[in-house]
């Protein structure tokens, strides 16, 4: 009797386990977008469309949003799907102002196709920012076709006061199917820590291959093919930027010594002024 009771409870547990796993939200391939899917947007920038209805920079929300962007007419996919290979991903430079280097090669790219612009959606980690004015002047110098920054672009706030931002870059694909982008980034002031450095990690950008904005029935539309999405946390070694940060253990004595220095300086000036004006009035009483 006991063994059959145990057997029944094991079977029910297994059954419940399987039932629960069916409801597990991780397997959402039916809801979110994945590679080689297509979608259409009606704005110049994909992120522009996204921010009209959403406000968070959450990855899965973005993918769900794109899934809902249906194209008004179904165009058959190319025979051989385009594949993007990330050739290089690096942070170059020194100090607070560096460049994020991204090199991509497109395999099976058809230069005659309507889709000839790569859109890179770079989700910047907390701790760095891109200067919209600098990017605009780069755009004028034809480094990119288009570029825009979304999210928090306050250039002066330190890291823990600001939200994240996203940079969307549009680059024309060359004949060989290669793209190289150098995005200038700047470090924010980091939250204070123990080690003296703050570690900022970069994942991979979301990549899309898009067409130009073309008029299509009622409104303009831009057709995009997803090349790579959702790889913001890489499995391989990530790109890391170590930014100097204040050290917590300094706090007490820095405050004390700062005030002592201010008081000492103030006193010296006070004493010098009083003595000097006393000397002057002594001189005057001597002369009169």
């Amino acid at each position: 009797m006991e063994s059959s009771k145990r057997g029944r409870s094991v079977i029910s547990a297994i059954f419940i386990f399987f039932a629960l796993s069916c409801f597990n939200p991780i397997s959402t391939t039916q809801v979110e977008l994945s590679d080689s899917d297509t979608f259409c947007v009606s704005d110049h920038y994909i992120m522009q469309s996204y921010f009209t209805t959403n406000s968070s920079l959450d990855e899965s929300e973005f993918r769900s949003f794109l899934r809902l962007q249906q194209c008004s007419e179904n165009i058959s996919n190319e025979d051989v799907p385009v594949v993007a290979m990330l050739q290089q991903r690096d942070i170059t430079g020194e100090g607070s102002h560096r460049h994020l280097l991204t090199s991509i090669k497109l395999r099976s790219f058809n230069s005659q196709s309507q889709l000839h612009e790569v859109v890179i959606v770079e989700r910047l980690p907390l701790g760095v920012f891109a200067d919209p004015f600098e990017l605009q002047s780069l755009q004028q110098r034809r480094a990119f076709r288009d570029v825009s920054v979304f999210g928090d672009t306050d250039l002066e706030q330190p890291s823990f006061r600001s939200n994240r931002s996203v940079v969307e870059i549009h680059v024309d694909v060359s004949e060989t199917g290669e793209i190289s982008v150098k995005l200038p980034l700047h470090a924010r002031y980091q939250p204070i820590g123990e080690s003296g450095y703050s570690r900022v990690e970069f994942g991979e950008p979301d990549l899309f291959l898009c067409s130009r904005l073309v008029p299509n029935e009622e409104h303009e539309q831009r057709r995009c093919l997803v090349l790579s999405i959702g790889r913001s946390k890489t499995e391989t070694s990530s790109v890391v930027w170590e930014i100097p940060a204040g050290i917590r253990s300094h706090t007490e004595y820095v405050s004390v010594i700062t005030f002592v220095a201010a008081v000492l300086s103030a006193l010296s000036i006070l004493v010098a002024s009083v003595l000097s004006s006393k000397v002057e009035s002594c001189k005057n009483t001597k002369q009169s």
């Binding site: 823990f160 917590r248 405050s255 103030a266 009083v274």
Partner: protein, 436 residues
């Protein structure tokens, strides 16, 4: 600057004021042209980032929008208004305007010194300290608006020296609206408007350079604080200040109040700068400062300002100079452009200094520039090499404060006290006539 050595009062022809002015003008013109070339051809721009901010704000204003739509524009709408021709004529209009103000400051310095009967040679050397100072000519040509503020301050001094009270008050109200810091001059100006010496509409007697001061230290009467001149000055300048703010508020609302005024009063920037407070502010940035803490940090600044005013107020120009140096040194944020605020007053006090260039003068210059360069070195390591040198940078800022204090104390010790408004003209001590 000893008077005894002025046997040859006339400087050589090449050093005449006119040739100095012309060569300064040409230098600035050339630098503006060069700046345009560098901006177009090199990675590092010559033009200051602030100038681009002003220009953008001015073009926004020209198209009828608020200049405050431009992020980091934190000035009066008047500045954007002055730069509207940038979008109409040429983008360098502003630089020419600022450089012209810069030259005007040179002219005003000469006017003030001449009014106080400083000899030609000493006068020209003093003017050279402003016109040929590398910091000065780069600041205007790079597009920084400080020369305009300096010109206004000097014009206020000239107006006071001429006895033109309402004009001085008008420009004072305007300059405080433009840039908040000149509010520190309110007390010394009020104190110097002693009704025994200063009557509105009459040219007050000026204490000149050749005269040894023998004025009695005036005892301060509370009753005389509310003299007619003082009240007039307060009312006119206060009225102008409020009117400017009211008009700006009418056009641009809360954005103006917040960006142009409140920001400067509550600014605590944790990013590295010359101030000794920057690391303290950064380490505490995650939590707000209490009112007591803010008060304590303001105390050294406050006491120094009061002490300087009450010890030296009769020598108005000297007081203003000392106040400005101290204000900058004890401020929560110090950027290099603030130095211009006292550079324009330095030539006005040099003729009264007993400090010799060898070796005391040279020592002061070397120490001050040395402390700055030392700080800049650590700043470079932090910003361009990415090393954590916050502690060393903070220590460098302490050294800079020490250098500022040393130079200030030395200047005080070597200054020949000379009130702006003095006894009647006679240079013969025996025949001093007192005013009633």
């Amino acid at each position: 600057m000893s008077r005894a050595s002025d046997k040859t009062d006339e400087p050589p022809k090449w050093m005449s004021f006119r040739s100095l002015l012309v060569s300064s003008m040409l230098l600035r013109f050339f630098l503006i042209i060069y700046g345009e070339w560098q901006d177009a051809h090199m990675e590092v721009r010559y033009t200051d980032v602030d100038y681009i901010v002003f220009s953008d704000a001015a073009s926004l204003m020209a198209s009828g929008e608020s200049p405050y739509k431009r992020t980091t524009y934190r000035y009066s709408p008047l500045l954007a208004l002055l730069l509207v021709p940038n979008s109409i004529f040429h983008r360098s209009w502003g630089k020419f305007l600022f450089s012209a103000s810069d030259l005007l400051v040179g002219l005003f310095i000469r006017m003030i010194l001449k009014q106080r009967k400083v000899s030609e040679k000493v006068c020209t050397v003093s003017v050279m300290v402003w016109l040929l100072n590398p910091f000065t000519f780069t600041i205007g040509t790079r597009g920084n608006c400080e020369p305009i503020v300096c010109a206004m301050i000097l014009w206020i001094i000239i107006s006071l020296m001429k006895g033109n009270l309402s004009q001085a008050a008008f420009w004072y109200g305007l300059v405080v609206h433009f840039r908040v810091y000149p509010i520190i001059y309110a007390l010394p100006i009020i104190l110097v408007l002693d009704s025994k010496l200063f009557r509105s509409g009459h040219k007050p007697p000026l204490e000149d350079w050749t005269h040894t001061s023998s004025t009695e230290k005036r005892t301060f009467h509370l009753k005389s604080l509310f003299s007619r001149e003082r009240i007039m000055f307060g009312l006119i300048s206060g009225g102008v200040f409020l009117a400017c703010n009211a008009v700006s508020f009418y056009f641009y609302g809360h954005e103006f109040l917040h960006e142009a005024l409140l920001y400067h009063l509550t600014r605590t920037d944790p990013r590295h700068n010359f101030s000794i407070y920057f690391y303290h502010i950064y380490l505490h940035y995650e939590r707000r400062f209490s009112a007591v803490e803010k008060l304590i940090s303001f105390l050294p600044q406050f006491t120094v300002q009061l002490a300087l005013v009450f010890c030296f107020s009769q020598d108005l120009v000297f007081t203003m100079f000392l106040q400005t140096v101290a204000f900058v040194a004890f401020n929560k944020v110090i950027t290099a452009q603030y130095f211009v605020w006292f550079y324009c007053l330095l030539p006005l006090i040099l003729p009264w200094s007993r400090m010799k260039m060898k070796w005391e003068g040279l020592l002061c210059i070397v120490l001050w520039i040395g402390a700055q360069s030392h700080w800049l070195l650590w700043g470079y390591m932090l910003e361009f090499k990415g090393l954590n040198v916050f502690l060393q940078l903070w220590l460098a800022s302490l050294v800079f404060l020490a250098a500022n204090t040393f130079v200030l104390v030395k200047i005080i010790q070597r200054h020949r006290f000379s009130p702006l408004f003095g006894q009647c003209v006679s240079s013969d001590r025996k025949n001093v006539t007192k005013l009633d």
